[in-house]
């Protein structure tokens, strides 16, 4: 039995963070009621004229530059013709003959080694609407919501340079991170704003000939894409070992079964009959325009990491962790802007915040405690209003309930007690109740002071200012 290895390429679709659709002024904010973000243009009414959103083109140029592509100086839009109810015009406006970006690459860090994946092309197109299949057995109809139809969509097509699941994961993560860093998309996968399609074939280990490739659609998370790669590698290897041939086809990932299956329709006999869209004129990206976009690229990951070290005085390791995702870096910077204690905020990020983000499997922009909230916790510590220990409790409570930390401290009476009179009462009690400790301290055992401070802290339920407690004990036992 021969051993086979996968050869993988990706088509990644990402919806752009423009305010409006690619060819009309309809709002694209997620979650609106069905068919309320539509107009004659994106509904494909006869006689309407699409007009290109300048921001969508700029974002595509930015993406192509970030992926080291050559920029096509004169780019055009083509019609991709097919009939499906999510596509009201019966064609999708896309780029086939002159994609905006060509022949790029992206470098991945895979377990410490650099792997280069070539990018075949980057092009701009419009998204389709959504089909809703009624959850009624035997229903003979579908419902269509066209809010998404006409949203600006970038497709990034890689060469089949990816050799295994580790590289596939690194590719997806690197691309997502890059798209977030250059601020062209928020990449919210649960909203379908970043989607993956995989091309996969297998070849006998040690050989160079490419096998027949299969295209798999419908992969809405990185985890699903990885499961699909694993499944297809096994399915194709087994088939070849049985002496069967791999059929070039499009398959769908079926999450319920945990397997891919061939598409039922013969739609796959694609003949899109592309032709240039006569409603849209050529886009001329002059070298000056291109260089201007390049000059205004948002700060990329490496630059941000270096700046975090210089500007905030963070250790290299902290800076690397904090910039590993754009949303985490933004959260941190907003917190520092609200309270200037970069090192302390970094410590809270590196421990409490990242742990909670992982546990909840959310990104920093969805974290229940906002950056201002984290800043206010650190501010309260720095101003002596709460102890570090109370701060941890406040953090946990704020994350759990979404309440503002100051409000939690106020309403639960957690303010640190710096009132000497009140603390003195606790100190006197503690001294009276622990004569053996007192004897040790007076006998020169300095460590025991901490134990006595602990007793006072307990009496104050953590609210006494420890520095003040220490001072009072010292004063009382010396006199």
């Amino acid at each position: 039995m021969a051993t086979y290895e996968p050869v993988i390429g990706f088509e990644v679709h990402t919806e752009l963070s423009t305010a409006t659709k690619i060819f009309c002024g309809c709002d694209i904010t997620y979650g609106a009621p069905p068919n309320t973000q539509v107009c004659p243009i994106c509904l494909g009414m006869p006689g309407v004229l699409p007009v290109l959103n300048r921001q969508a083109i700029e974002y595509t140029i930015r993406t192509a530059i970030a992926l080291n592509c050559e920029i096509t100086e004169r780019t055009v839009f083509d019609r991709k013709n097919y009939y499906y109810p999510d596509l009201p015009k019966n064609y999708q406006i896309s780029q086939n003959y002159a994609s905006l970006g060509l022949n790029g690459y992206v470098d991945l860090d895979v377990n410490g080694t650099t792997k280069r994946v070539r990018i075949n092309n980057v092009h701009l197109e419009e998204d389709a609407g959504k089909l809703i299949h009624p959850d009624i057995p035997g229903a003979d109809y579908s419902l269509v919501d066209l809010n998404r139809a006409g949203t600006a969509l970038i497709e990034i097509v890689s060469e089949p340079d990816i050799d295994n699941a580790d590289e596939a994961l690194a590719y997806m993560q690197t691309l997502k991170n890059l798209l977030e860093y250059i601020e062209v998309s928020d990449c919210k996968m649960q909203e379908g704003r970043l989607r993956f399609e995989v091309n996969i074939s297998v070849r006998e280990v040690g050989t160079k000939t490419l096998g027949t490739k299969v295209e798999i659609k419908n992969l809405n998370s990185m985890k699903t894409a990885l499961k699909c790669i694993e499944y297809e590698t096994r399915r194709q290897s087994d088939a070849l070992n049985r002496g069967e041939k791999i059929i070039q086809e499009t398959r769908l990932w079926d999450e319920a079964v945990g397997a891919t299956r061939a598409m039922r329709s013969k739609e796959d006999a694609h003949d899109y009959r592309y032709f240039p869209d006569p409603d849209l004129v050529e886009v001329h990206i002059t070298p000056e325009w291109r260089e201007e976009v390049r000059a205004h690229l948002p700060e990329l990951q490496d630059a941000k990491r270096r700046r975090f070290v210089e500007e905030y005085g963070l250790p290299e390791y902290d800076a690397r962790v904090l910039t590993s995702a754009k949303k985490t870096a933004t959260y941190y910077e907003h917190a520092v802007a609200a309270h200037k204690n970069p090192k302390s905020l970094s410590n809270w990020m590196m421990t409490e915040v990242l742990r909670e983000l992982n546990a909840r499997d959310v990104e920093a922009d969805e974290f229940p405690l906002k950056s201002e909230g984290l800043a206010s916790i650190v501010r309260m510590i720095d101003e002596g209003k709460i102890s570090g220990k109370i701060a941890k409790d406040v953090f946990a409570k704020a994350v759990e309930t979404g309440r503002a930390p100051e409000e939690i401290v106020q309403s639960e009476g957690l303010l640190q007690v710096s009132d000497t009179g009140e603390i003195e009462k606790f100190v006197d009690e503690a001294i009276a109740e622990n004569p053996d400790m007192v004897a040790k301290i007076q006998g020169g055992n300095a460590k025991t002071i901490q134990a006595l401070v602990g007793q006072v802290m307990k009496k104050s339920r953590g609210k006494a200012n420890p520095a003040l407690v220490n001072e009072l004990i010292n004063r009382k036992l010396q006199s």
Binding site: N35, L143, V144
Partner: protein, 101 residues
């Protein structure tokens, strides 16, 4: 002149979701064939020094700014639809497979 086959006409009809009778197929094979032949006369011109173009006039970089404009109301959007349910267009059942974007 390239001959158009009945098979090609059937393919194009299928892609366009048109149901044609055998008579119509024969009819369109002849008609479309002569239209293609007519257009093909253009191939007699020497265009080796002319750049490919998608438009007969030269206009470039027509853009709109990324500013939200009012959309139609849901009622207006659905007004011309043959059928609708809830706030959606209602269409004959489609297989879950398919779609291209």
């Amino acid at each position: 002149m390239a001959e158009l086959s009945e098979e090609q006409v059937r393919d194009v009809a299928m892609l366009s979701r048109l149901e044609l009778t055998d008579d119509e197929i024969r009819h369109y094979t002849k008609d479309l064939g002569s239209i293609l032949g007519y257009v093909e006369q253009l191939n007699e011109l020497d265009t080796s020094s002319v750049l490919p173009t998608s438009h007969s006039f030269h206009v470039e970089n027509v853009f709109r700014e990324d500013i939200v404009r009012p959309s139609l109301s849901n009622e207006e959007a659905l007004a011309n639809a043959p059928d609708h349910e809830d706030e959606c267009f209602k269409v004959p059942a489609v297989l879950q497979d398919g779609g291209g974007a």
